[in-house]
Amino acid sequence: MRKILLGIAITSMLFTSCSSDDDSTNQNNSVEAPVTYKFMRDGKSTVSFAGQTTRIKMAMELRSALGDNSKTAADLQGMFAHIEGKSDFSDADLNASDKSIRSKVGASKDYFAANTTGSNKIKSLMDSWIEEQATTVFASWNAIATAGTAGQLQQAGGGKMRYVNGKGLELDQAVSKTLIGGLMIDQMLNHYLSTSVLDESSNIADNDNGVLNEGKFYTTMEHKWDEAYGYLYGNEIDPSTPILNADSFLNTYLKQVDSDVDFAGTASSVYDALKLGRAAIVAKNYKVRDEQIQIIREKISKVPAVRAVHYLQEGKTKMAAGDTAGAFHALSEAYGFINSLQFTRQPNDKVPYFTHVEVTAFMEDLMAGNGFWEVKPETLDAMASLIAAKFGFTVDAAAN
């Protein structure tokens, strides 16, 4: 936290000291973040991200359905790849929507515009999990799971029932935790916060000249920024003043990371940077905007990393304590979060902290042979160390 403040202080000092001989007038525009994420033009709110809220709600319904063994593979697939007008959801508004989850998975401009092959691979993997959940896990719902055979396992101490495939993987966790990276983080960091999207076409000139979208109160650039905001806070009761824990995805796991004293302040850094960056767009100060993007990328990328390391360690501990179901649950979360790491974004660069090839290798290690039934504690430790080191935190910091 102190480091960030210092970072901001130094950056702004530098900025102040060199701005006198800078000939761009915009960069002299001072930027002040509002107290909350509220932006108005002529008395009307300029903030809008309905499409993001819709996709989060679709993902919430899909997540519940993945734990409902009365659903068929077609039901689940319909929710994942919704088609406008089909009755895939319980919420009529979602059914009427032309949006779908699947189309936005691995779909950012920076990472996937010229990598549709990679995007299709990620989507197909998720399709296969959804299919297997219905055809294999639902079909063995009441059987006791054993190595190589799907079924149920109860957590120690009269805990929750966990439903796993033959390798001990909870496929619903794999899907949910992959969506955090594949949908929310990828769209946020690598699409809407990318200059390739923010500054596309005449966006800068339009924003400079106050050219609004037809029938709207916002400029295109403002709207793109808000859509990034929406993937994080879109399911909040009042998104302008987020309280977190508002979905089962990025919003909630940002909160969980923030609740660990070793990462306290992460949530407010993200919120503050999103506010300041949006205010910078209003002030036409793109330098301040771009500085906030780097902060957001670093902090949001940490969410799946910290949680992956946390769950790898929890899995190891619970395994040692004989709580097989508890261990498998933790490792299933870790598995999905690891998959999400390929959508992270290193600040001031155009690459993730771990590539698709690297996360795939991790996942294959976890699923080798009978998967979680025989994964070694050393494997989990080694993986946790590699991830933590890459992001610059310690395994211990994330573990508790």
């Binding site: 006791i144 396992l153 109860q154 957590q155 120690a156 101490g157 009269g158 805990g159 929750k160 089962s248 969980q256 304590a321 004989g322 709580d323 097989t324 179901a325 508890g326 508790n400």
Partner: protein
């Protein structure tokens, strides 16, 4: 090991350099932790186990007699001994340390409720079950005995029939026997450990590290108070953690008249440990209470130990005002249950924040598992 110490020293140095407050940074005070541990072990923990062990064996004898001859008299005796042993259990459940911990939570095999009736019935029918697997944590222990002795049929004649004329009578007898044998076996292991070496290890571990005796014991104590007592006995049935109240989740659900009695017993046990009161008498020794007094920890001009004792007393008064069957209380007037919960909850804050901070001990568990 050496590496760890060096690392720790470096961290301490770093912390010392970077921190701007005046905390003591890992060092401990001069309170005699050894005396506290000795009082806990010799006057409370071991005597409480030595009380519980024989009562459980008496219950085992009564169950064997009932299985041999399933009549009303033997059923009544078994129920009686069940309650006596269950009350004694309330004094040891919090001691999840040593063997109890290394069994992968001894209490998981003794008091996880509510039971999953389908697991018991399935085990009775098929004869294939393994009480050592986590799947069966909620199908054994006192709650399973409660079901088998009180809830397996709607009246006593029906219950007796299950163990005599029923087609699955042999299955019921075997399951009942397996459950009590498991409880007795594990309990003997825990007692043997305390009386053959672990006691010395426990009292000699006087440092202040995450794995030192007092650090672990304080954590176990608070965890038990928060989960085993506050949440399991009162909070969960009162619906504190769910959309609706759950009257079927009380302790001793099938017996229908002991949930309050067991809770009061547990609260007394918790308070006696806090005050260092001997299990078999009224004398007190070194305890959390005397430690707090030694440290002169005050809140609003009052010693924290007095505040905690007052809060325990307030909670007791609230609990005493409840129906002897918490299920009934939840159904008839749940607000009285939530008031009792609130009174218990207030002490959590004193214990988990103020007391551990004074003792310079870290809380080593997190509240919830999420989904």
């Amino acid at each position: 090991m050496i590496k760890k110490i060096i690392l720790f020293s470096v961290l301490t140095l770093i912390m010392a350099c970077s921190s701007s407050d005046d905390s003591k940074g890992g060092s401990t005070d001069d309170f005699n932790r050894s005396a506290l541990l000795i009082n806990l072990a010799d006057n409370i923990i071991i005597p409480a186990y030595k009380d519980f062990g024989p009562k459980l064996t008496t219950l085992k004898d009564a169950i064997e007699a009932f299985v041999e001859t399933p009549n009303q008299s033997n059923l009544d005796t078994a129920r009686n001994k069940w309650l006596t042993a269950y009350k004694a259990w309330q004094h040891v459940e919090m001691f999840n340390i040593g063997k109890a911990e290394s069994l992968n939570e001894y209490y998981y095999f003794i008091n996880i409720y509510p039971v999953t009736v389908s697991d018991i019935e399935n085990g009775v029918t098929t004869g294939t079950y393994d009480l050592n697997t986590p799947n069966y944590h909620d199908a054994q222990g006192f709650p399973a005995l409660d079901y088998l002795l009180n809830g397996v049929a709607t009246d006593d004649a029906g219950i007796l029939a299950k163990f005599s004329s029923d087609a699955k009578a042999q299955g019921y007898k075997k399951y009942l026997t397996d459950v009590i044998n498991q409880m007795d076996d594990l309990t003997q292991q825990v007692i043997a450990d305390w009386t053959s070496g672990y006691r010395d290890q426990f009292v000699n571990s006087t440092q202040n590290t995450a794995t030192s005796s007092l650090n672990k014991f304080v954590n176990d104590y608070i965890f038990y108070y928060e989960k085993g007592l506050r949440a399991n006995k009162i909070g969960i049935p009162a619906g504190i953690f769910s959309t609706n109240p759950l009257p079927e989740k009380v302790e001793g659900y099938y017996n229908q008249e002991v949930s309050k009695l067991l809770t009061l017993e547990a609260l007394n046990a918790v308070q006696d440990v806090f005050n260092g009161k001997a299990f078999n008498g009224s004398e007190t020794g070194a305890s959390f209470k005397t430690y707090l007094e030694y440290l002169k920890v005050d809140r609003d001009g009052k010693n924290l130990s007095a505040i905690i004792n007052t809060q325990y007393d307030l909670a007791r008064t609230k609990i005493e005002g409840l129906n002897s069957n918490f299920s009934q209380q939840v159904i008839s007037d749940n607000s009285k249950m939530t008031e009792a919960y609130d009174a218990l909850q207030k002490a959590v804050v004193y214990l988990k924040l103020d007391m551990v901070q004074a003792f310079n001990i870290s809380v080593d568990y997190v509240d919830a598992d999420g989904d």
